[in-house]
């Protein structure tokens, strides 16, 4: 996308959890159309970094600069966070679940199109309790399609997905980046879309 000013820059970030410094003096920069992979062993702070960017944790040092595609610095309203948990409510049908989030985020997204995009087309009326782990993850990803936002934070997005699911995620990511979005994905597997950058964390990294 031309003249997109989208950028997310972290400088000197440090985070403590449970009395332990998870990482310190961490820096990165991601721009429009870029996918950054965050790699590293368990406990290196991949999830912590994503939660920090999402605003769910506060850094003890460092700064996070966000600029939207058309200026503006409201990061919280511009990002999608897909965590370990899928936040799928049992008691709802697939469509109800997605419709709630779309409405909650003031999205006017096409719910059926989003379900089709993640391979849940035709399952809208099915209770979420009947879904498999992979299908729940697909439903979580459908939110990122129903409500368009420039920044995606994906924590182990391929965890519950089978080969077809990974291919689907690759298509979603490529499409998102092509539209000028950015994505940061924590993983210790190969991502289905080729990352432009890799941020390698190690346990106790300085």
């Amino acid at each position: 996308m031309k003249d997109s000013r989208l950028s997310l820059v972290g400088e000197g970030l440090a985070c403590r959890r449970g009395g332990r410094t998870v990482f310190s003096d961490l820096g990165f920069a991601v721009g429009a159309g870029e996918l950054m992979a965050v790699t590293g062993p368990n406990g290196a702070g991949k999830s912590t970094l994503l939660r920090l960017i999402a605003g769910l944790l506060a850094p003890i040092a460092g700064r996070l600069d966000y600029q939207g595609p058309a200026g503006g610095d409201d990061l919280a309203g511009a990002l999608h966070y897909v965590g370990h948990q899928d936040a799928v409510k049992s008691g709802f049908s697939v469509r109800q679940d997605l419709a709630f989030w779309t409405g909650y985020w003031n999205g006017r997204g096409d719910i059926d199109a989003a379900l089709d995009a993640v391979g849940l087309g035709g399952l809208g009326a099915i209770p979420t309790a009947a879904l498999s782990a992979g299908q729940r993850r697909r439903l979580a990803l459908a939110r990122t399609i129903a409500v368009r936002r420039p920044v995606w934070l994906l924590d182990e997005p391929t965890a519950a997905l089978d080969a077809a699911g990974e291919a689907m995620l690759g298509t979603l990511l490529d499409d998102h980046l092509e539209r000028g979005g950015m994505a940061i994905a924590a993983t210790h597997q190969t991502l289905p879309s080729k990352p432009a950058k890799t941020l390698a964390l190690s346990v106790g990294a300085a």
């Binding site: 959890r17 939660r51 999402a54 605003g55 769910l56 944790l57 506060a58 919280a76 309203g77 511009a78 990002l79 966070y81 965590g83 370990h84 948990q85 899928d86 936040a87 799928v88 409510k89 049992s90 008691g91 709802f92 109800q96 709630f100 989030w101 409405g103 909650y104 985020w105 003031n106």
Partner: protein
């Protein structure tokens, strides 16, 4: 529709969806009310005198019973992260969830109260006063309970802990509530003063509790 009311509507819908048991609180209320005469004896005059207090305590316990899952369900499946991430400020989110809880857990208790009053032979005046005071005072129960629910959101088996934390904080509500009922029934006792104090407690808790609960929720995810 605004995010606030979207969330209220979703919580109300979830409360009445299969497997959630929105009416368990009313059943608990009924069981408490049935158990009391079996302990005290079937003397209708005695029951009539104690009835309003029983109703109030029944409402208090039944409200607390349903509160422990107020934030925990959303915390456990990750929805709380997404809800706070963008959309509503955490304080308004607390308020929305409390409103939904009040509508689905407390209003049924108020609707069931006349029936319970019948079992306890409560006079119409006392029953009317009880229902009025519960209506005025129950928002305080829900809001104060929400603080406890936020404090115990990461605690397994938090419901007992919640009750231990919250019951002492709600005692003023109970005192003013039953005080107002007595004022309505017994000549010479004040009715307006405790009712206004009750109203003040509800308004103050609606204003203050969201901030306390939101602070507790922020601390819980740290």
């Amino acid at each position: 529709m605004t995010p606030f009311f979207t969330l209220v509507r979703r919580d109300v819908a979830l409360a009445f969806s299969a497997g959630s048991g929105a009416l368990l609180g009313v059943m608990f209320f009924l069981i408490v009310i049935v158990a009391l005469p079996l302990g005290i004896g079937p003397d209708l005059n005695l029951l009539a005198r104690l009835g309003p207090a029983f109703l109030w305590i029944g409402v208090l316990l039944s409200t607390l019973l349903a509160l422990d899952r107020l934030f925990q369900a959303d915390h456990d499946d990750g929805a709380l992260d997404l809800l706070t991430l963008s959309g509503l400020p955490l304080e308004l989110l607390v308020l929305a969830k409390c409103l939904a809880h009040w509508l689905t857990a407390v209003v049924p208790l108020i609707v069931a109260a006349p029936l319970m009053g019948l079992f306890l032979n409560v006079s119409p005046t006392a029953l009317g006063a009880t229902i009025l005071t519960v209506l005025v005072g129950s928002p305080a129960l829900t809001m104060i309970g929400a603080i406890g629910a936020a404090l115990t959101v990461t605690v397994r088996r938090g419901s007992l802990l919640l009750a231990i934390l919250i019951v002492p904080l709600t005692l003023p509500v109970l005192i003013f509530g039953i005080g107002a009922v007595n004022g309505a029934v017994v000549d010479g006792l004040p009715f307006r003063t405790p009712l206004l104090l009750l109203l003040a407690a509800s308004l103050a808790s609606v204003a203050i509790a969201p901030f306390a609960a939101a602070a507790a929720l922020r601390a819980a995810r740290g």
